[in-house]
């Protein structure tokens, strides 16, 4: 709820520069989202849910300037055969993108079909986000629903032959992008979604995923090496019976990143595996906020988050497993760990369990500490020099998260990016 005039002023200032379509199938849900924001306000530092991350730069009227980053690395997943969809500063790029057609799927752009009277995405767009507003409000996601300028709407009818790759390019120092994607995976189908790149100076992204019974979605994301970008992303996933949702995110650098994932296991025997590896050096604030709701029997969920921090970097993990009454035989696991490579970095965590069913096995663990000196000495005693030994142990630490990626090719690529990062960031 909006608690004071200052908060109201911040919200009004932010909303004043934004436009939304007044007609078309998405208009009603956009209005509802706006009404929601006007009721609850935008995140403020006093909100419990923003205890560890200052939302100021995410809610201010315009994007803080972010210098462009000259990335000399080859494109991530460049070798993977994929359907490329490219957004430059939040604007679809026809030239760089492939033709939006692939057997088994129907793919539209929100900006292109938004003014139609009806669309299949109507049943998902803003609807899963709405479900995710309780018990904790997520005003930045509602803001996204209300004001998204574009995004892709994918209806996966049959398993496509290759992954769909969303590529975000940051080309303008003050760009402020809002994209909203909807993915519906029909019964028995499976799809892989890749996301890469820094997107914009400030990026607000929302992805809603509806998984029908027996369907699968694999999501692998690399958020780009851009040093100064800021991002607030949300994923909302609703899982049908026996469906599988797997998401992995690699974050290297970025001034501020808040990745929220809200997953509802609403069909029996469904499974959600959510993982993240982040490596931060210097001015870097990374926040993983994960909320997993078990609302059906015999489901399993895993949250595996690893953070390596140095030179004053901050890592945040807020993770929750909520088991609703009746969600018996739930298997819930959550681990959050940070490796602090020096004394200036910090790790802040709130790993929660909220459980209303008795026949469950839920656990969480959280650790924070420096590199294991015993192991370091052992490696050095075998002739491996300190820097390389540190890298080896760091990579070993991150591995548990990377192993959550099912595709070996994709996992290998993530490992090689991590190794490259570690090599670049070796202390002098």
């Amino acid at each position: 709820m909006i608690s004071d005039e200052r908060q109201r002023a911040v919200m009004e200032h932010r909303l004043s520069g934004l436009k939304r379509p007044e007609s078309g199938w998405s208009a009603p849900v956009r209005s509802e989202a706006l009404a929601h924001i006007q009721r609850v306000g935008l995140p403020s530092r006093r909100d419990e849910y923003w205890k560890f991350t200052r939302p100021d730069t995410l809610v201010q009227a315009s994007a803080p300037k972010a210098a462009l980053f000259d990335n000399d690395e080859s494109p991530v997943f460049g070798e993977v055969d994929r359907l490329k969809v490219v957004f430059v500063d939040g604007v679809f790029d026809l030239e760089l993108s492939d033709e939006l057609a692939l057997e088994g799927i129907v793919i539209d752009r929100l900006a292109a079909v938004g003014d139609q009277g009806s669309h299949w995405a109507e049943s998902v767009y803003g609807k899963l986000e709405q479900r995710g507003q309780d018990p904790v409000v997520r005003p930045l996601a509602a803001l996204n629903t209300a004001f998204a300028t574009d995004g892709i709407l994918i209806d996966v009818q049959q398993t496509p032959s290759k992954p769909i790759s969303l590529i975000y390019v940051h080309a303008n120092e003050t760009s402020d992008a809002i994209l909203h994607h909807v993915i519906r995976v029909n019964e028995g189908a499976a799809v892989t979604i890749l996301e890469t790149g820094p997107a914009a100076a400030r990026f607000n992204k929302c992805m809603e995923i509806e998984l029908a019974d027996d369907s699968e979605l694999h999501h692998v994301r690399a958020q780009g090496r851009d040093h100064e970008r800021r991002a607030a992303t949300h994923m909302f996933a609703l899982l049908g019976a026996r469906s599988q949702f797997k998401s992995f995110t690699l974050t290297v650098n970025g001034r501020l990143t808040r990745n929220e994932i809200y997953t509802e296991l609403s069909g029996e025997n469904s499974s959600a595996h959510i993982a993240g590896a982040c490596v931060g050096d210097g001015e870097f604030h990374h926040d993983d906020t994960v909320f997993v709701t078990h609302d059906a029997e015999n489901c399993d969920s895993r949250q595996v988050f690893k953070k390596v921090l140095r030179n004053g970097a901050t890592g945040v993990f807020q993770g929750k497993i909520l088991v609703k009454p009746g969600a018996q035989k739930t298997d819930g696991y959550q681990i959050s760990q940070s490796l602090l490579l020096d004394d200036d970095s910090q790790f802040l965590a709130k790993p929660e369990l909220e459980i209303y069913a008795d026949d469950v096995a839920c656990s969480h663990g959280s650790t924070s500490g420096a590199i294991n000196e015993e192991a370091l000495f052992y490696l050095r005693a075998r002739g491996i020099e300190r820097a390389e030994a540190t890298d080896l142990l760091t990579l070993a630490f991150l591995r548990e998260a990377v192993e959550e990626i099912e595709s070996e090719t994709l996992a290998d690529e993530i490992v090689s990016r991590l190794m490259a990062w570690l090599l670049r960031h070796r202390p002098e």
Partner: protein, 512 residues
């Protein structure tokens, strides 16, 4: 009997599980018994209902306090008026009308203070006798079987607090010989103002939180302990709190100071009669451990929990905090929380001295409609500080049980360690068990480890016990006692037995 080997014994576990579950559900319907729910029929004088500056002054006057204490209370009262009741805990209860309570209730017979235990109203003495806490110096706490020889070494000094006043304190002269001060805090304010002024409010500031501020304004009595440098307190100290009067809140204040190199073990017990309306208990406990001092503080909290429909019971809103002020100071909190309708309590340690240590061992059992939101804060400020948290939550009936904790490693707390283990057990599918830890690590030489699990009572273990002839309730009590063992073994012997029985009683009829 080894319960752990049970899985190897069982062949057809599936059918067994189903069998046990059904009986479990039936048993949940049964009512648990509260054995301390009786009332002492005694004439009581009350201060007028409600809270005003005049009531604050009246309490101060009844305690014959010096002006500085009265002023302190009034200041707290003013602050309290500005504060809001906290709403972040996972507990839900009707609004409390703070003007519809008595803030002071004293047995009429206590109007003139008895000079010795012999002069205390026999009805009051009987009350404690019945509770198993005889206010006699030749006896140790009831129910403890020890060798003849051992009795001399197992003395327990008791301060008995009845509603708003202390009715008597045993072994005072013997303690005095050792230099230990153990007396009602009302007496300490008069007799040891230099100590009280130095330490009161120094760990839990007057306006720390809503309930602590309320307590600062209206606390009526409680215990005071001072252990001088290098003295090992010759016996266990304990305070037994009894709420008897209706519509009355109990606001006690405990202050324990362990000076350099000293040691003290302190126990606290509490009960109340069975009533339909809820009653408020808002205590403040402050512990100060100076250099090389050690304080062991154990609680068996057995306030009336309300009936099986959630009617009545104590609202237990307590602020407990320890300050390990000196290097190598050590504080250990052990709590067994079985009573109260609502519990809001986080015994904490500020680890200020280098190499200081804090420990927190907790069992919280909630049944029927009980709600508990409890845990600890370990704030590491000094170097090489260590903390350990072991929390066991058991939830049955329609109860909600939350562990809430904070482990904070400040930038200067180099080389510090924390280990936290939170386990929750659910008995029946109508209850809830929650874990809300906050972890803040701001240096890299410190190591923090947190683990938590939630599961149900192991059906295999229950069946194994039953196959050996135990009935379902015995089996549950045994298995739950096993689950709690890590904490139970930290209790002083006097309390360990009572606590074990309590674990069984609290779960009566909640089997599963």
């Amino acid at each position: 009997m080894t319960i752990s080997s049970v899985t190897e014994v069982m062949d057809d576990e599936r059918s067994v599980k189903d069998g046990v579950d059904q009986e479990t559900v039936d048993a949940v319907q049964k009512i648990s018994s509260y054995k301390h729910g009786w009332e002492t029929d005694i004439e009581t004088e009350y201060a007028p209902k409600g809270l005003t500056p005049d009531i604050v002054r009246l309490i101060s006057e009844k305690n014959e306090e010096p002006d500085w204490m009265t002023e302190w209370r009034l200041q707290a009262y003013e602050r309290w008026l500005q504060m809001k009741e906290p709403d972040w805990a996972m507990v839900d209860y009707p609004d409390i009308d703070f003007q519809d309570q008595y803030y002071y209730a004293r047995p009429k017979s206590m109007e003139t203070k008895p000079k010795s235990l012999d002069e205390v109203d026999p009805k009051l003495l009987e009350t404690y006798e019945k509770l198993g806490i005889p206010l006699k110096e030749q006896l140790i706490l009831a129910g403890v079987e020890v060798d003849e020889e051992d009795i001399a070494n197992r003395k327990v000094a008791v301060d008995a607090v009845f509603d708003s006043v202390s009715v008597g304190t045993t072994f005072q002269s013997e303690l005095k010989k050792a230099g230990v001060i153990f007396c009602p805090i009302s007496e300490a304010v008069r007799d040891h103002p230099e100590l009280v002024r130095k330490y009161l409010g120094s760990v839990v500031p007057m306006s720390d939180n809503f309930y602590a501020t309320l307590n600062s304004a209206v606390y009526s009595d409680g215990s005071f302990v001072y252990v001088p440098p290098n003295v090992r307190c010759p016996m266990e100290l304990s305070t037994y709190f009894r709420i008897n009067a209706e519509n009355t809140g109990q606001f006690e204040r405990t202050l324990i100071i362990a000076d350099k190199g000293s040691y003290v073990s302190y126990l606290e017990g509490c009960t109340a009669p069975q009533r339909d309306t809820s009653q408020l208990h808002a205590a403040v406990v402050e512990l100060i451990a100076e250099e090389d001092a050690e304080i062991k503080y154990s609680t068996v909290q057995n306030w009336y929990p309300g009936d099986e429909y959630g009617k009545g019971g104590i609202y237990n809103f307590v602020t407990k905090r320890a300050d390990c002020r000196g290097d190598r100071a050590k504080v250990m909190w052990t709590q067994v929380e079985t009573g109260s309708a609502v519990t809001w309590k986080y015994p904490s340690c500020v680890l200020r001295g280098d190499d200081s240590q804090g420990e927190f061992y907790s069992i919280a059992i909630t049944n029927n409609y009980q709600q508990a939101d409890t845990g600890t804060k370990m704030v590491h400020l000094g170097r090489n500080t260590k903390s350990r948290i072991v929390s066991k939550g058991i939830s049955a009936g329609k109860a909600q049980n939350t562990y809430r904790g904070l482990v904070s490693m400040h930038p200067k707390a180099k080389n510090s360690r924390n280990y936290t283990q939170c386990d929750s057990l659910l008995i029946g599918d109508q209850c809830g068990a929650h874990t809300v830890p906050y972890i803040e690590v701001k240096n890299n030489s410190s190591r923090v480890e947190h683990e938590a699990t939630t599961s149900k009572v192991d059906d295999d273990q229950l069946f194994y016990c039953r196959a050996r002839g135990m009935d379902e309730e015995e089996a549950v009590a045994l298995v739950v006692n096993g689950f709690c063992k890590e904490v139970l073994q930290e209790l002083p012997m006097e309390f360990a037995m009572e606590a074990q029985q309590l674990v069984a009683i609290s779960l009566e009829g909640s089997v599963g």
